[in-house]
């Protein structure tokens, strides 16, 4: 997009040069970004002897993928980790939405006593990193005897102040007239929320869902604290157990395991690239 001013010849040459330079920088960066991913996939199909050969090759001379994946799957319940991850992320997201949506609607559209105070508390909650309440929650869960359960992994995240905050902003722009008209037709508040307002907030809900799932799928800190039973491990925790185990020195199997652990979210991203990027743009916070 150069301008209407006479594009001199030096300018054309400069455009070419800058194009070349841009791609050179971007491609160099791209190699750095893809390095561990490519290395992981390549190592997962190589025999142990080939992985650390001085000359790095992208394709093995002896295809060893079957053995690596087999040994990864027999030493660690990798699919179990993925299922655990799905249960934990799904459970967290469902409760987060069930709790946050009505609250966000109330803060956006209803007048009730204590509204300002509640919103102030939500904003305060936004300033507290999730690692801060971890210790008291751990003590409480230990006293209740619920450590090493799915519940203990999910419960601290049932309330997302961020979801309330984001959805409140979104609901606020919903036209009052429609809500008022529905009320006059005798539609109850609960129905107004779930039947009328929520469908219009789909982009914000999808954005939050991406944010929530990416955050909790990859979270290590909290599962590491409350889970010691490998059967309940989420993907990151399972990966850590796996890497620490004896097989951890079998680099081919470990790479195969890492591939299995990493695949679901990466594939989801590749399939729904626009959703992911829109989600991150809208939420913009980790």
């Amino acid at each position: 997009m150069t301008t209407s001013l006479s594009p001199g010849r030096h300018r054309v040459r400069r455009d070419w040069l800058s194009l070349l330079l841009s791609h050179a920088v971007l491609l160099t960066g791209a190699v750095f970004m893809l390095l561990p991913l490519v290395f992981m996939i390549v190592s997962s199909i190589k025999p142990p002897a080939e992985i650390f050969e001085a000359t790095f090759s992208l394709w093995p001379r002896n295809f060893y993928g079957v053995q690596n994946f087999q040994s990864a799957l027999t030493t660690a319940p990798l699919f179990r980790f993925l299922v655990n991850g799905a249960i934990v992320c799904g459970g967290i997201l469902v409760v987060q939405l069930l709790v946050a949506i009505p609250c966000a609607y109330a803060l956006a559209k209803l007048n009730f006593p204590g509204k300002r105070l509640l919103f102030a508390l939500v904003v305060l909650g936004l300033c507290i990193p999730v690692q801060a309440p971890a210790l008291p929650l751990y003590i409480a869960f230990a006293q209740l005897g619920v450590l090493n359960t799915y519940f203990s992994m999910m419960a601290p995240f049932f309330l997302s102040v961020f979801a309330i905050f984001l959805l409140r902003q979104f609901f606020k722009s919903y036209p009052d007239e429609i809500i008022q008209a529905a009320r006059l037709d005798g539609v109850g508040e609960l129905e107004i929320v779930w039947r009328i307002v929520v469908p219009s907030a789909w982009p914000a809900i999808a954005a939050f869902a991406v944010f929530s799932v990416v955050a909790h799928w990859n979270d290590l800190y909290w599962p590491l604290i409350v889970i010691s039973d490998p059967k309940l491990a989420t993907p990151p925790l399972g990966m850590m157990f796996f890497a620490d185990s004896e097989v951890g020195s079998n680099y081919g199997a470990l790479s195969a395991g890492a591939t299995i652990i990493t695949a679901p979210l990466v594939i989801a991203f590749l399939l729904a690239r626009r959703r992911f990027i829109a989600g991150i743009t809208m939420t913009g916070i980790k």
Partner: protein, 307 residues
């Protein structure tokens, strides 16, 4: 709102009724959230504050107030001082590198038309990967004797670099992995910021004679990107200050404590050694550092998220 009721010509009786229903619904809708907010956030913070002034340990029947002893102990604890220093060094590398490299990438990617989504996908991929799995791969890649990166350095005529076992290199190495993980995330935020810059501004700058890319950047891009840059910097700071995963998996704080970080120290004291009151104190110190930035982040969120 109640004005809308008036427009519809309802009698005051109906309006009062409507107000009553609204209050009831509002309280009903907000109560589950409020209860959970208290249970998972506010009450734990109060407990944290109380614990930090006691000598409570897990399973203890009785415990006493010890005043500021825990805080004094933390100030003098060489592990904590080292952890704080390491964390700040990590932040000092990750924040500028993570912000400015992401900005550079975003500017370059933004101008591409055909290859834009290609680069977008590649740079964003690490954000969606499980960091623990990727950290393990970095460990292979960086292995002092066997790793391909060292093989590459040797082939160029350099010496082998013990990235993760040399005390002076371990934090910069972890920082590089940290930048690798978050650069795509920041890039996406910058791309959104760049799309919001009106094209006319560049055309105007062109007419004014600022047609060189550097001029265009200084006159238009940089100032227009200001709020985004601020927001990205704050978010990156918070993420960097919470560094934990790579330390826990790759170094366990070693060699010789040279990669201990604050959150890792909190984790060890609280959940490995069960010095709960001391860990509570450390958590409060951790909280104090992040609070300034989280407050700023919340302020920005309030202005950013509007439709």
């Amino acid at each position: 709102m109640s004005t809308a009721t008036a427009v519809h010509g309802r009698v005051p009786m109906g309006r009062r009724n409507q107000q009553f229903i609204e209050s009831l619904a509002g309280i009903g809708f907000a109560t589950p959230a409020l209860i959970l907010l208290i249970l998972t956030n506010l009450a734990p913070l109060v407990v944290l504050g109380v614990l930090s002034f006691t000598n409570y340990e897990l399973g203890a029947v009785a415990f006493n107030s010890v005043g500021l002893k825990n805080f004094a102990a933390a100030m003098q604890d060489p592990v904590i001082r080292r952890s704080l220093g390491n964390t700040l060094l990590y932040v000092a590398i990750v924040v500028p590198a993570g912000v400015f490299l992401a900005m550079l990438i975003a500017i370059l990617v933004h101008r591409r038309t055909k290859s834009r989504s290609f680069y977008e996908v590649i740079y964003f991929l690490p954000v969606t990967t499980t960091l623990i799995a990727m950290a393990t791969m970095w460990q292979f890649l960086l292995h002092p004797r066997l790793g391909p990166i060292n093989a590459f350095l040797v082939s160029l005529g350099f010496e082998r670099v013990p990235f993760l076992s040399e005390p002076r290199l371990v934090i910069p190495t972890l920082a590089a992995i940290g930048v690798w993980q978050l650069i795509g995330f920041n890039m996406v935020l910058f791309l959104a910021g760049l799309s919001a810059i009106p094209r006319e501004l560049y055309e105007a700058a062109d007419v004014d004679g600022a047609s060189h890319p550097v001029d265009r950047f200084l006159k238009v891009t940089w100032p227009m990107l200001g709020p985004t840059t601020m927001f990205v910097t704050i978010t990156t700071f918070i993420t960097a200050f919470k560094v934990f995963d790579t330390v826990a998996v790759l170094t366990h704080g070693g060699p010789m404590g040279s990669s201990e970080t604050l959150l890792y120290a909190v984790y060890l004291e609280g959940f490995q050694y069960f010095h709960l009151s001391y860990a509570a104190t450390l958590t409060l110190i951790f909280l104090a550092f992040t609070l300034v930035f989280s407050v700023a982040q919340t302020f920005f969120l309030d202005r950013r998220v509007h439709y």
